[in-house]
């Protein structure tokens, strides 16, 4: 190495190796002052964070909502408008009970074409992938039991390998080709041409199988609810 130690690097010196204080032991600082210093600093920090949060939160929420809107239209290519339905006691409802928190309810996004006819639903669901939870949204047409699209919303899969679940266009396109559900993962080249077969990606086997499992699990949960058909377009914007 360079032989010389940079000046001022005693930063992380362990306690005990500190240079001896110049004056022989300063008078001890009272515990109250220590606590008070930290308390004041903590309060100031809290106020500062709250102020900035007040400013940034609407921007962050608006961005999230916009991303979701774009994703719904991407996985329901035939949709011109969509409506959010919440799951209340096994029934779909476009309104929540008074005072209920939106995030507490499972939901689907029902898409409608220009004429107001239902074209399918978009469902999002997250489950463990290889590294962390993969959050997927996909479009599903209950009338024909086919998928109309899929998009990975969040994933921390390995760069260069598992991240092919959203970077490999050929793999993503398979979900837009209207595969029959339930989906069956097959090794590339070994499929028998059955509807519902999805080629996995070599090197991303776990991640691709996880995406397929997420969709199948979500459908297993939602299909009974959707059996009665998609509700008519509501009055909600």
């Amino acid at each position: 190495m360079n032989g010389k130690l940079p000046a001022d690097t005693l930063a992380v010196a362990p306690p005990g190796t500190e240079p001896a204080p110049q004056e022989p032991l300063e008078e001890k600082v009272s515990t109250f002052r220590l606590v008070a210093t930290l308390a004041v600093a903590g309060i100031l920090a809290g106020i500062l964070i709250a102020l900035v949060n007040q400013h940034t939160k609407p921007i962050i929420d608006a961005y999230r909502a916009q991303q979701l809107r774009l994703a719904v239209y991407e996985v329901l290519p035939a949709a011109a408008t969509y409506n959010t339905f919440y799951l209340l006691d096994g029934m779909l409802s476009s309104t929540l009970p008074e005072g209920a928190k939106e995030s507490d309810y499972k939901r689907v996004y029902a898409g409608y074409d220009e004429a107001g006819e239902p074209v399918g639903v978009a469902v999002s669901r997250g489950e463990s992938g290889f590294q962390d939870v993969i959050l997927v949204i996909f479009g599903f047409d209950p009338a024909s039991n086919t998928l109309s699209g899929m998009k990975v919303l969040e994933s921390k899969e390995t760069p260069g390998l598992g991240d092919k679940i959203f970077k490999d266009q050929a793999w993503v396109d398979q979900f837009f080709d209207g595969p029959q559900t339930p989906l069956v993962p097959v090794k590339p080249g070994s499929g028998k041409g059955l509807p519902g077969e999805i080629d996995t990606i070599t090197g991303a086997t776990i991640s691709t199988k996880a995406v397929i499992a997420i969709i199948n699990n979500a459908l297993a949960e939602w299909e009974p609810v959707l059996e009665g058909g998609i509700p008519e377009e509501g009055t909600q914007p």
Binding site: N2, R33, V52, N53, H55, I60
Partner: protein, 211 residues
């Protein structure tokens, strides 16, 4: 033995001679973790730059009120506050980068480069000198991260700032965008710097001998 330094030395020192990452080997966690693309390296550098400048100014201006028994906790509190602010602002104004960097933004809190500057410099120098020192260190950190990010993105994905450099026949060296590539890249850069320093020392020795 106090060394006399001019303000410009405060600024320049951290950029190269005492580069936090390449010489002092501090702040290696973000340097290894998020430098798989130039954009990520730049976002991380910007966030760290903001945090270290604000923290240094605040710590050096409040140093008289901080009893030394709780100084480390105070510094961490100051740093954590600015990291939270940087986190929220990145999420609002650069959401794509924020998503890519994930947990590593929050981990700036434990970047020992920042804590080190507070303890070693800001807590015993004037506000002006502390700010210069923080700017220098921040630039040094940025340079190191950009070097790593450029190297890894060019070899690992064949692009620079998302612009494809090589034709479609280029087979990317995926290992360079994986964590292992971070260690390899850092090793190569330090090796090259060591070789350069050694050559420089040899030349000085030679010229002394001939003189």
């Amino acid at each position: 033995m106090p060394r006399i330094t001019t303000p410009s030395q405060d600024l320049i020192r951290g950029i190269w001679d005492e580069n936090p990452v390449l010489i002092q080997m501090l702040g290696l966690c973000p340097a290894l973790a998020v430098t798989n693309t130039v954009k990520n390296a730049l976002a991380m550098s910007a966030a760290t730059f903001f945090v270290i400048c604000c923290s240094s100014v605040l710590v050096s201006s409040c140093k008289r009120f901080i009893p030394k028994e709780v100084r480390i906790s105070s510094y961490i509190l100051v740093i954590a506050t600015f990291v939270t602010l940087a986190d929220m602002m990145l999420q609002a104004y650069a959401p794509v980068q924020h998503k890519e960097l994930g947990a590593f933004i929050a981990l700036i809190v434990v970047n020992c480069m920042i804590l080190g500057r507070q303890e070693a410099f800001s807590s015993r120098h004037t506000v002006f000198r502390s700010l210069l020192d923080a700017i220098g260190t921040g630039i040094g950190f940025t340079i190191a991260l950009l070097m790593m990010g450029g190297f890894r993105e060019i070899l690992g994905t064949g692009t620079f700032f998302d612009i494809p450099l090589f034709g479609p026949n280029f087979e990317p060296w995926v290992v360079f965008v994986l964590p292992a590539g971070g260690f390899l890249t850092l090793g190569f850069i330090i090796l090259a710097m060591g070789y350069y320093e050694e050559r420089k020392a040899e030349r000085v020795e030679q010229s002394e001998r001939t003189a």
